[in-house]
Amino acid sequence: MSDATTSQVTALGAALQSVPRSGWHAATVAAVHRETPNASRLELDVDGWPGNAAGQHLDVRLTAPDGYTATRSYSIASSGSSTRVVLAVDKLPDGEVSPYLVDDVRAGDMLEVHGPLGAFFVWAPAAQTGDRRPVQLIAGGSGVVPLFAMASAHAEADDPTPFRLLYSVRTPDDVYFSEELRGLSDASAPLRLDFVYTRRTPDGWPAPAGRITREALEAAVIPAADRPRVYVCGSTGFVELVADWLVGLGHDPRSVRTERYGGT
């Protein structure tokens, strides 16, 4: 056997033994907008993206010139069959990936993305699932991203399922998808919006700024007696507080789906 043939066989063996890293795609940044003072909205054109359900996420991998890689998960704000994927990324002060995505990335830049990921924290229209129970969405800060995808899919499908979104946010300036949310609440698919402002309220707001309370939660969510499906997304502390209160208010733990993104 010649040396050339040996090396070909060796290469083939290596290829068969290694597991292909399926689901990774090259993404081109199509547009970047400032979403809030601390967050950017990124529109990505993802080569080979198979489409995604509302609520799914993707992993973004950045590789430094020396080969060091950092991978982080981001919820997807869009859904459907399009290869245009929308993210809204909050900048973490000591983050390795988010400061780059929020402040530095420009249209035309390339990213590696893995997805769509996760089939647990997803919503699909009643026409597909047959589930006509009402849906309560509860967001803490940037946790609104996958819930916005669900509310948009609900409006897009003109789905008759009652939807309600409770959004806890620092100040009116920190609201993600502010205009789009107003548009969704005016759409024919039913969506009711409730806000809790934790640091500063709009002028004339009836309640002082402050963390959500059990009483405020109870007043702003679909009652347990109506057996809603509940999706909660936010920081780990927010999600665990809210999920415990929901169970205490009589919600079935199996009907409460949670997604924690870690620290604030």
Partner: protein, 89 residues
């Protein structure tokens, strides 16, 4: 670093399983509780990822990634149940 939950490991787990395993239910060897992997608590660090039962904190699984290799340990799950798509026949 604060923990997250099983949703966050859908990507790393996609290297081991041909389907989204975060919706599969696992039975904890510590307390016997059965829950979707998405509901487990996940502790990530530079060394790797530890997946713990949300009921009793038993270590369900460990994940380590290093360059061109990845390992998974499933020491804390005595059974995993997956939902199959309805068969055409």
């Amino acid at each position: 670093m604060e923990h997250v939950d099983g949703n966050a490991i859908a990507g790393p787990l996609a290297e081991f399983f041909a389907f989204d395993v975060t919706t599969a239910t696992g039975r904890c060897v510590g307390c016997g509780s059965i829950a979707e992997l998405a509901r487990a608590m996940v502790y990530r660090s530079g060394a790797g990822t530890v997946v713990r039962c949300s009921t009793c904190d038993t270590v369900l699984a460990t994940l380590v990634e290093s360059g061109d290799r990845a390992w998974i340990g499933l020491r804390g799950m005595s059974a995993i149940e997956v939902r199959r798509a309805p068969s055409a026949g």
